[in-house]
Symmetry: D2
């Protein structure tokens, strides 16, 4: 079904764009730096199948940290919560997403939660498959089910660029390997991880992923239960407690919906029972969340009373 | 209105008591140590005015950290969110509730959130009144409104005991005073804080406080809007992200309701739009939450599908 | 004996003054801020009783952290190393002198060493006397013996100013009191500590203190053994491993003599068996050591090959 | 020259062995675990060429962390202090030798000093050579000069064992590579590092290395200036401030000589101008220093008054 252009949504997108002019596009890899800081696109997908969009919704962007919630859902389905939480914790942290300190100071060596890099890498190390290629395919197929889109790819340029420069993530992997938290080959984990981060969607496709979580794991487009209700519930909980880097607490207070952001400027929102939201605004604030995207979500929350609290 | 004895609730309370035998009663002050580890009482208050209880609901206990959510509501009402969040942050932390480290390592000296001791002390330092006595009265009057109970007191013995021994809390106060986060006299702040922690309720009264937050700030017993909806919403958000010490993330995943616990063994729950819950079970687990109380909430969540996620 | 003006020393003082123009006078209390950043005075005291000086050697300054080595010597004499090291550690730390973090993270709650503020406060808490006044007198009498100077005082203005504003030091005290590392009244400890820090000497008197340590505890002016050799040895060791705040390692490599600095701009040096050095240069570098003082010591070390290593 | 069996030394060795029965042999790799906890051998080399020994001095052991002082001397000779200290700091740290925390918390990303693992790895990354093999040869040739021993090897078994399991050291390397502190291939650095740690000496050969540092870089056996005086001085300073893991401060106070220990149970001592000491006692205390070796050094210090302070 085509996505109608929503006038109200377009107006909010314009308003958000005007209100925010301070964000900066991520520059740690060249591929991300190319994006225009002015870009802002948004789509909202409803359970009934209709959707609204504003801005250039054909524009694709890489998932980056948003992929963490997708691989978490996969391993929760494959291993069950108990085995997953044996490897990665459930607690939010006041530290930056890429911090290594808690791995040393915690009595349990496992990373505090699956949304920080250490935890996401531990999750990726559990993805099923006999090779990096198989594991990436396995993730891609899951994204196809979530989006109901047969053609999903990842951006080779971004993946290679991150694979070549992700020394801190390798450091996290080796630290956890030393503690027995992750097993397997670090370079293979890095290959899978950088490719999952480089998966490309547009904001409509992202809204559909958010909708599946909002609908307790059922994809309303296909009526397929893509993941058990419990898995969707756990994922939404993490989106609330630690989905927006270390501004998650503030986001919960100001906006109050399960959401996950990525350093590319994407934000996926899941309003329980009501809607999925996909936003792409590459200008970031200082903690790494989309600056214009946050503004837009604030306007949406005010208008439609989205907060769970 | 009298609280009926609920058979179903009594059965769950019995089940919870049987399933948990590992908790330990807090022993850092003599007054808390006197409680029986076997005690478990619970009350559930509904918006329509009826309520169910199980166990000895006349048993009173001190609020301890549960009082943090009450003083937070007060200062949010008196100063507005912006001025409060100028002094205390909104982010959960992976550190213990009494940790001082982040005060030194954070670029902003303010405590990460109002549920850890540092943040709660900063909140208490903002309570209105020209003396410790006036400030304590001010808090007590608010608790009377929340519970619709004209006779609320605090336990002098517990208050004095904690006032005499709370050296770490004084350390937190002076650290923040050095950073300009709190002003005023530290001994006065300590007096108010230890008295707010020593306020005594039974589990039915606590359930009624939880109900006010659940009903967006309206007290259904009096139909009075005790606090603005926004204040209730902010408080519930903190209860989800950091209400259960540093097991808040796990609690959100396993149970998924706004809740706040205290080291006395009390837990207050607020299921949005549905009910307030008051529990007293003095046997604690290793992070300081009521061991049997958690078990009971797990059984309640399974039976009534309480999770917000 | 009068101190002769040394031409060579004067030339080095002038050279040091010219080479350094970046330091800043401490400004955390008004009394310290009054000093001229251009001032630099120095005295060198030899075991034979002669001495050389340069600059205005009548200029007095407060000891600040230099007093830590004096109180350490006192408690080592009164209690013996074993009992002192039961309360305070022997290890250098990479953290700033006023850091509180290690008190929380170390398995042993005691401060890492007696040269950081926490450790120095623990030492001061052990000073003998039945009142703050007696304890201060006890320290003053020891300084009189070390300097062979009957008239030593402390600066009331500096002492009061620091007593009124030292919230972080109170925080350290209460933290350690909570852990049972220090006992007694915190305000009394603070009174003694701020007064010991405010003891006033000129650089010649300071050089004489340094000489006592250099001569294994014997005061060559009086031929009195002011402290046992072992106490002098322990003090000199701390001066090497942690005497110059967290630039002690660099100082050991570049200059290599036992030395202790204070935030007033004083530096006391003890070249074993050879000389005591007293320097006053109030312009500080970013870690809190006298900027011109360091430069002067570097020139002295080059000229006279003072390094122990 | 053959090393005479010293009766006095033998008696001290026996005494040290009897006084200490609590140490444990390192067990993180099988090759180290094979050693007998009762073994204790010692040699003292004097500038005049004579030497004394006690215990089975033909027993070889791997250098482990003692090699850090040797590679530090090499890079100081090749690059000069300024360039080396651009990559690695000069400050002791209160953290464990393998801690990663300070890499994240320090404003400068460089490791605090070259004696902790992070700093030693940064030093090894600077060793000259176009391949791991060349770099290892370069180090080995330097050790041959220091010991005046043409046949020095490393233990292949230990090197491989550590190379295969050193995940934490890889983590440190990648962290520093991410911060631009080290360049080059991490696996190559790990190969060189694990081989330098596996270099095998007996205690007489180790005493001779210590003697070169004690004699300001001159090898008295060959009269060759193996390293500049300044390099020897810097190395001895690090041996005092951080040579004995995080018991360096206590060692400086109790014994007071430049020394470096390794987890194999070796200790190298350098008493300035007087002697070099080599000890092998594989039973370790809880911080990783030879338990019997420390006891022996304490007895030696008491008997011969070795402390510099």
């Amino acid at each position: 079904m085509a996505c109608r252009d929503g006038q109200t949504l377009s107006a909010l997108v314009e308003k958000a764009r005007k209100l925010s002019f301070e964000g900066k596009v991520a520059n740690y890899i060249p591929a991300l730096q190319k994006e225009s800081p002015d870009h802002l696109s948004c789509a909202i997908a409803y359970p009934e199948g209709d959707c609204f969009s504003a801005g250039d919704i054909n524009k694709k962007f890489t998932l980056q940290s948003i992929s963490k919630i997708i691989t978490l859902a996969l391993v929760l389905m494959d291993y069950g919560p108990e085995r997953v939480f044996h490897r990665v914790g459930m607690e939010p942290t006041g530290d930056p997403f890429n911090s290594i300190i808690k791995l040393e100071t915690s009595s349990k060596a496992k990373p505090l939660n699956p949304m920080i890099n250490a935890g996401a890498l531990a999750v990726t190390s559990m993805i099923k498959g006999s090779s990096a290629e198989e594991k990436v395919d396995y993730i891609m197929n899951f994204v196809k089910k979530l989006t109901n889109e047969p053609e999903i790819d990842y951006c080779e340029e971004v993946a290679i660029s991150e694979f070549t420069t992700s020394f801190l993530n390798r450091s996290l992997c080796f630290y956890m390997k030393g503690d027995g938290v992750i097993h397997g080959n670090v370079e293979e984990i890095m290959e899978v991880y950088t490719k999952q981060c480089a998966i490309r969607l547009n904001c409509l496709q992202l809204a559909r992923v958010g909708l599946v979580f909002a609908m307790d794991g059922r994809n309303p487009l296909t009526d397929e239960q893509v993941m058990p209700k419990e898995v969707a519930r756990i994922c939404k909980t993490f989106m609330v407690t630690c989905g927006m880097y270390n501004a998650s607490g503030e986001f919960a207070i100001r906006i109050g919906i399960p959401a996950k952001s990525g350093v590319s400027g994407g934000i996926m929102g899941s309003v329980p029972g009501r809607m999925g939201i996909g936003i792409f605004g590459p200008a970031l604030n200082e903690v790494g969340n989309s600056h214009t995207g946050l503004k837009l979500l604030e306007l949406l929350q005010e208008k439609y009373d989205l907060s769970m609290f």
